[in-house]
């Protein structure tokens, strides 16, 4: 399945609601804009982003007395792509070992994403080490071990309750000894308002950059696509703690809207790099803004 196919499946309902607006034959542009505004809100873009999108459309088409539906559609697509400018490929391979740190709140799918990415990078010929730095949640290490087996990657685990920074230290040492070139760090889920847990994350980050200067190459926040506007606050707080380089949006299957993808990129400059679609090992894709915009808006 191609990324575009996957998006088409994932964004089916959002696309249908936008398509309904176009098909409703709302004669007056104002009325059409109102309905589009609601369709965008329903996709979790948030008020600010929905307004910015439609303002952009009005600016572009404003001179026309009655812009056609196809013109409006193409214009929104263009606005979305303009809001999502930047690199979406992972920044790896600068040094002998590239570290990717995964952070996020509980239950967004960090462990699953780490497992899938390990498999993807393995297929591409990388030698991958996983660090089970979630030493809090019961059976998190066991879960990562199962993913490691599936992905044929190595994994370093410590006992429940041990220092996550020590796990990271050991994983990096082991990767050096075994000449591996990628270390994926799975951290415990934490609600962004927990001060002490955010401090713990900073410590993990510090250990990585001390052991491998210039690393982590990527600090990715894992966001659940069904999350609403709190995703912005999550990204803001985690960015402050570890300086995010990107986001992975998970659970884009089903009816997930993913409008927050546009919002966090536009408002915080955090690019979306990975998209998780399902529970299978190969359900992880590099994000493509134009495929996303096309799938979101295609009314055919």
């Amino acid at each position: 399945m191609s990324l575009l196919d996957a998006f088409y499946r994932g964004l089916a309902r959002t696309r249908q609601s936008i398509a309904r607006v176009f098909q409703s034959g709302a004669a007056m542009p104002e009325e059409l804009y109102d309905q589009l505004f609601e369709a965008l809100l329903a996709a979790d873009t948030g008020l600010g982003t929905a307004e910015a999108l439609l303002d952009g459309v009005k600016r572009e088409l404003g001179r026309k007395t009655s812009p056609g539906i196809e013109e409006i559609r193409a214009s929104i697509e263009k606005q979305i792509i303009m809001m999502m400018q930047g690199q979406t490929d992972l920044n790896i391979g600068r040094g002998p070992i590239s570290v990717i740190l995964f952070v996020g709140v509980n239950g967004t799918g960090k462990t699953t994403t780490v497992g899938k990415l390990a498999a993807k990078l393995g297929r591409e010929g990388h030698r991958v080490m996983l660090a089970a730095a979630d030493t809090f949640r019961a059976a998190a290490a066991e879960q990562l071990e199962i993913w490691a087996r599936r992905a044929r990657a190595d994994v370093v685990t410590h006992r429940v309750g041990s220092d996550p920074a020590a796990v990271v230290f050991d994983a990096i040492s082991a990767a050096k000894a075994r000449a591996q070139d990628i270390v994926l760090v799975d951290t415990a889920g934490r609600v962004q308002t927990r001060f002490n847990l955010m401090e713990e994350l900073k410590k993990i980050h510090k250990v990585i950059s001390r052991e491998l200067p210039g690393e982590p190459s990527e600090s990715l926040i894992v966001l659940d696509a069904t999350t609403g506007q709190n995703a912005l606050e999550q990204a803001r707080q985690f960015k402050q703690a570890v300086g995010l380089t990107g986001a992975a949006i998970t659970k884009m299957d089903g009816t997930a809207k993913g409008g927050i993808a546009i919002a966090i990129w536009r408002e915080l400059g955090v690019p979306v790099k990975l998209i998780g679609m399902g529970e299978h090992l190969d359900d992880l894709y590099q994000f493509d803004p134009s495929a996303f915009a096309k799938a979101l808006l295609d009314t055919a």
């Binding site: 329903a42 008020l47 709140v105 879960q143 001060f195 999350t227 506007q229 529970e279």
Partner: protein, 441 residues
Amino acid sequence: MMAFELLSKRLGDVFKRLRGKGKLSESDVQDALRQLRIVLLEADVNYKIVKDFLERVKDRAVGAEVLESLTPGLTVTKIVREELIKVLGEAQKPLQFNANDVTVFMLVGLQGSGKTTTAAKLARLLKKRGKNPLLVACDVYRPAAVEQLKAMGAKCEVDVYCGDQGLTPEEIALSAVRHAVSKAMDVVILDTAGRLHVDEEMMEEAARIKALTKPTEVLLVADAMTGQEAVNVASSFDSKVGITGVILTKMDSDARGGAALSMAAATGKPIKFVGMGEKVEALEPFYPDRMASRILGMGDALTFIEKAEAAFGKNEAIELERKMARQQFTLEDFLEQMKGIKKMGPLNEVLSMIPGFNKLPASVRGQIDESELKRVEAIILSMTREERANPSIINASRRRRIAAGSGTSIQDVNRLLKQFEQARAMIKQVYSKGKLTKLLS
């Protein structure tokens, strides 16, 4: 920090504008409702639910009721609060048990909503109430899901039942119920796999488990941070499986929690519990009236007082409240309460229940941390009784002595004294707000 915090702040701004006006015109109401629409949408309340909600508020707000009122701002506040409570469910709904037979509770929800953690929390709560619960691992799909439940069960000393390898979730659920009967256990909690509400096959599986085990409660475990999709999630689980209530998780985040309104409005099913953190004891009953008060920036004083009672004993709590009300709260009391506060739970969580606390800037709130308590304790212990009762006598030389005695710096002592003054000011605010709450109810 506090659920609904930002929503509260926004609403506070709306109503501040309404306060102090003599009478409410229709355009005043319209303006307030426009603001309210933004507030609710930004809080992730579903846009359709927002429309309906505002219609009802408008119907009640515009007209005689408001115009006859002496305080129009309070009247609109009261109407919004009442309508919020109505949507969130009028009263707290207790769990339903089977009188003569083993009771089955079934937890369902999306992936990552917190079912396994919630199952363990629920088991612990039931055990505390004298029940003999059995946790059942029906998630045969997610790697290590069974191990997670086993570990959580061990933590709260509740038996965990996992079926033999190769059994279907339906078979595991059914044999677990039989196992519970044979062991004379009275409640079975089924932890099912996370599933998408549009996955027909998986929804049918959940419906089959329900048909086989006849649970008295089918609880949808949902993330408080859910966006617009909350309506579809709740409606789908309700129509395809049939739910009896909702448990809202991750409420210790700063999510505005509009999902609570969306789900309650879409299904008419009550929210029964809220998850407040990762510890097994962090499960609390849901109180619609308190939640509505929190939305309106009135804080969560009732929960605060209840927690204080549990930690200090009722008499001391009453004494504490009396002192707070008379603003006779001294550093001595401060010290005495410190140990009690530690018992009440994480400091930030406790403080967030105090009305007005959410109005403090996040940077200030972030500074408050547990280890600070120890330092504060040392400083107060280095003061004389007189100084504790009347901090205003603490001059420069006394400060030097206290800092030396407690192994801290003069800056630390200064900071504590300043914080204590702020705390006193905040307590004063609690009690002027308390009057407001009484006025409205």
